[in-house]
C-alpha cells in the first residue's frame, strides 16, 4: 500500500516537474517517493531482471544500447535521461510500470548501494578515469570501492579487460565476462591499484607481452603482482563485434567512433546474459541515433551540426576520435557539475585537432585559449553556437562540449534529444 502510494506520487511529482519546465523530473520524483517508502527502489526492482551499467565514460550510451538490445525480449525500464543515482532509478522504474526487464545507468559512486537495493543480475563495468577532481575520489580508490561492491556478490559481471582499474575490481570473481572494450586514456592507470606496482603495456606494434594475458590485442600486466589483462570473450575488429563463439557480427551504428562499437559489444554481452542472441540484437543497436542529445545532428542555417559530449580528459580523447575532420567548435564551462577547476585542460592533448578549423566558446573559453596556444592549435573565439554557425561555411560543424556547456547548447537548440 505504502509502495503503491509512493509509486503514484513519484510519477505525479515527476510529471508536475516536467510540466513546470524544471527538467525532466527524474530526480525530484524519486526523492519524494523514497520519502514515503524508503525501500521503494527495492520494492520496484522485485520481479524484474535488472542490469546495471557503470563507468566514468559511456554509461548513458551503453545503457541506451543495452536497453535497445534487451528490447528483443519485451518492454525494458530504463533511466534514459542520465539521472543515474537512486532517485533517478526509482523514478525510471515507477514510470515504467510492469516490465520484465530493467537497465539502469549507475553513477560510479553509487554502485554498491544500487546493487544492494535492486538485486541486479548483471553489472557492466566500462572504465575508470579522472573526472572532476574537486568532487570525486581518486581513481584507484574508486577501483577498490568497485572491487568491494562486486566481489563476494552473486552477480554476473561484464567488464572491460583493457582497463587495469576495471580488471582489478572484477578479477577473481567467478562470474566475469571480459570485453576488449579498449582504453584510449592511460594516464590514470600506470600504477596498479592493488600493489602499487607499475603497469607495463605492449608497445606500439607489439600485440602481447610476456606474463600478460596473452590476448592478441593491446596487452598489459602489472610488474609487481599477478594482475594482468584477462583474455577477452568479446572483441572488436574493424566494424565487427566478435562474440565468445568466435562469430563476427557486422554492426552498423549511427553512433560514431570505436568507443561506441565497444559500448555496443558490452551491450551485446549484457543482453546475451539474458538470452538475447547477438544476431537478433544487432539491428536494434543501429536504431539508436542519439542519446540525450549526445551525437544528435541538427540542421542550422545550412550547416549540419553534430553534438558530442566530453566530460573529462578520457572523454575528450574519445571525442577527437569520433569527430570528423570538419570545422569544430569546442565549448568549455566550469560550473558545479563540470568541476570548478579547469586545470584538466592541460591533461588533454588537443594536437589531433591541428589542421581542422577550431572555434572556441563557453564560460571558460579563455582557459581553453591559453591551453590551445601552448598546444600549438590555432583557434577563433566566438560567443556562442549561433556565432560559430555563422562563422563557418555551409557544410558540417562538429561541436564538442563539456557537461553544462553541452546542456547550454541543447537549450539553444530547444533541448534536442
Amino acid at each position: 500500500m505504502r509502495t503503491a502510494l509512493a509509486v503514484s506520487v513519484t510519477r505525479s511529482v515527476a510529471a508536475l516537474s516536467r510540466v513546470a519546465g524544471r527538467g525532466d523530473g527524474s530526480v525530484i520524483g524519486g526523492r519524494v517517493g523514497m520519502m514515503i517508502d524508503p525501500a521503494l527502489l527495492t520494492h520496484l526492482s522485485g520481479g524484474r531482471r535488472i542490469a546495471l551499467i557503470s563507468g566514468t565514460n559511456g554509461k548513458t550510451t551503453t545503457t541506451r544500447l543495452t536497453a535497445a538490445a534487451l528490447g528483443v525480449l519485451g518492454p525494458v525500464a530504463t533511466n534514459s535521461f542520465g539521472a543515474n543515482m537512486p532517485a533517478g532509478h526509482t523514478t525510471a522504474l515507477a514510470r515504467a510500470g510492469d516490465t520484465p526487464y530493467g537497465v539502469l545507468e549507475v553513477d560510479e559512486h553509487y554502485l554498491r548501494r544500487v546493487l544492494d537495493e535492486t538485486g541486479a543480475e548483471v553489472v557492466a563495468l566500462l572504465n575508470l578515469s579522472r573526472d572532476q577532481l574537486d568532487r570525486a575520489k581518486e581513481v584507484a580508490m574508486m577501483a577498490q570501492l568497485w572491487r568491494d561492491a562486486v566481489q563476494e556478490r552473486d552477480v554476473s559481471i561484464v567488464a572491460n579487460a583493457d582497463d587495469p582499474m576495471v580488471t582489478f575490481a572484477a578479477a577473481g570473481h567467478p562470474g566475469v565476462t571480459w570485453v576488449a572494450a579498449g582504453q584510449r586514456w592511460y594516464d590514470d592507470s600506470w600504477v596498479c591499484p592493488g600493489c602499487g606496482g607499475a603497469i607495463k603495456r605492449a608497445e606500439a606494434g607489439e600485440t602481447q607481452i610476456t606474463g600478460g594475458g596473452g590476448a592478441p590485442d593491446a596487452d598489459w600486466r602489472c610488474t609487481g603482482c599477478d594482475l594482468c589483462r584477462p583474455s577477452p570473450q568479446w572483441r572488436i575488429t574493424g566494424e565487427a563485434v566478435v562474440d565468445p563463439a568466435g562469430v563476427r557480427h557486422e554492426i552498423q551504428l549511427e553512433l560514431p567512433g570505436r568507443v561506441n562499437r565497444a559500448n555496443a559489444a558490452t551491450a551485446l554481452a549484457v543482453a546475451a546474459h539474458f538470452g538475447v542472441r547477438p544476431a537478433a540484437a544487432v539491428p536494434r543497436l543501429a536504431e539508436v541515433a542519439s542519446v540525450a542529445g549526445r551525437y544528435a545532428r541538427v540542421q542550422l542555417d545550412g550547416r549540419a551540426v553534430r553534438l558530442l559530449l566530453a566530460k573529462n580528459p578520457a572523454g575528450w580523447l574519445e571525442a577527437f576520435d569520433m569527430a570528423d575532420h570538419e570545422p569544430t567548435l569546442l565549448a568549455v564551462n566550469a560550473r558545479g557539475p563540470d568541476g570548478l577547476d579547469t586545470s584538466w585542460l592541460f591533461d588533454v592533448d588537443f594536437s589531433p585537432l591541428r589542421g581542422r578549423r577550431v572555434l572556441i566558446s563557453g564560460d571558460r573559453a579563455h582557459d581553453l585559449a591559453v591551453r590551445l596556444s601552448v598546444n600549438g592549435v590555432p583557434f577563433e573565439h566566438v560567443p556562442d553556437l549561433d556565432a560559430a554557425v555563422a562563422a563557418v561555411p555551409p557544410g558540417r560543424l562538429e561541436v564538442i562540449a563539456n557537461y553544462t556547456a553541452f546542456q547550454d547548447i541543447r537549450t539553444e537548440l530547444n533541448r534536442v534529444t
Partner: protein, 263 residues
C-alpha cells in the same frame, strides 16, 4: 635506470614527445633543462601544464628546451635547471618525500642554485614536515616551513599580491588542499592572500633563493606567465626575456581576477 631527455620545440606534438622520446643523454649545453619530478606520485589535474607552459614560453624566445619525467624509481638528475613538483594524494606524497630524501638529488640541485617550482603536495614536501594520512611526515627541509591539517578543505579561486621583491603581478590560481602551512624565518611568503586560503588565509606559498612553492593549480604558470618567465630567467641567468604576445593569458587573468572582484 637511465633517463629519457626529450628536446621540446614549437612543433613538438605536446607531451607525446616526452613519452615516446628515444633514450638519449642531454646534449645541448645551451638548452634549458627541465625535470618533472615523480609524476607517477606527484601529479594531479593539469600539473603537466607547468612543464608545457615553460617549454612553450622558452621556445617562443628561441631557447632550446630539454625535459625529462623522472619516475620515483629513477635517480633525480642533478644537472637540470628547473625542477617541477606537482600535487598528490597523502599516500604518494609521503612516499615521494621518503624517496626524494633518500635520493638526495633535489637537495644537491638546490645547493647548486637550481630553480624549483613546487605545487600543493609538492610544496609541502619541500618543507620540514607535513601531515599525510594523519601522521606527521618528515619533509626535505629545503624551505623553512611546516604544514599541518586545517579545519576544512580549501577549494576554490586563490589570488594574492606577490612579494614585491619578486616584481610580479597578482598571483591567480585554483587551490584544492586540506593543509595549512606555517612559515619559518628563513622563507618569505610568495604572496599576501586577497582571495582564498593559501597557507593560512593570510599568506600564500613561500620562496627562498630560487626555490618557490605554491598552493596554486590552474595550472599556476598558465595563469601567471610572468612567474613562468621568472623561472626561465633564473634558469638561464638572463635578467629579462624578450616580450611575447600574452593577449590570451592576460584576458584569462583579467577574467579570473574580475570574478573575485579584484580588478
Amino acid at each position: 635506470v637511465s633517463l629519457n631527455w626529450a628536446s621540446l620545440d614549437r612543433n613538438s606534438p605536446d607531451w607525446a614527445t616526452l613519452d615516446r622520446a628515444a633514450p638519449h643523454r642531454p646534449s645541448r649545453e645551451s638548452a634549458v633543462r627541465i625535470a618533472w619530478v615523480y609524476p607517477d606520485l606527484l601529479s594531479t589535474y593539469g600539473d603537466r601544464g607547468n612543464l608545457l607552459v615553460l617549454a612553450h614560453r622558452a621556445a617562443l624566445r628561441g631557447l632550446p628546451v630539454e625535459a625529462v619525467e623522472v619516475r620515483s624509481d629513477q635517480p633525480v638528475p642533478v644537472d637540470a635547471d628547473i625542477y617541477l613538483l606537482g600535487g598528490g594524494e597523502d599516500g604518494p606524497q609521503a612516499l615521494a618525500a621518503r624517496r626524494l630524501a633518500a635520493d638526495g638529488g633535489l637537495a644537491s640541485a638546490v645547493n647548486r642554485g637550481a630553480a624549483v617550482f613546487a605545487v600543493c603536495a609538492g610544496y609541502q614536501v619541500l618543507g620540514r614536515s607535513f601531515f599525510a594520512k594523519g601522521q606527521k611526515c618528515g619533509g626535505l627541509g629545503l624551505l623553512d616551513l611546516e604544514s599541518d591539517r586545517g579545519p576544512s578543505r580549501a577549494v576554490g579561486e586563490l589570488a594574492g599580491e606577490i612579494d614585491e621583491r619578486l616584481g610580479l603581478p597578482t598571483l591567480t590560481g585554483f587551490e584544492n588542499h586540506g593543509g595549512r602551512t606555517h612559515l619559518g624565518r628563513d622563507v618569505r611568503p610568495l604572496a599576501t592572500v586577497s582571495a582564498g586560503v593559501g597557507n593560512d588565509g593570510l599568506c600564500e606559498g613561500a620562496w627562498r633563493g630560487s626555490v618557490l612553492g605554491t598552493y596554486s593549480h590552474g595550472p599556476a604558470l598558465s595563469r601567471n606567465p610572468a612567474l613562468a618567465d621568472l623561472l626561465l630567467c633564473w634558469a638561464t641567468g638572463r635578467p629579462a626575456l624578450d616580450p611575447i604576445d600574452d593577449a590570451w593569458p592576460e584576458r584569462l587573468r583579467t577574467e579570473r581576477l574580475r570574478a573575485l572582484h579584484l580588478v
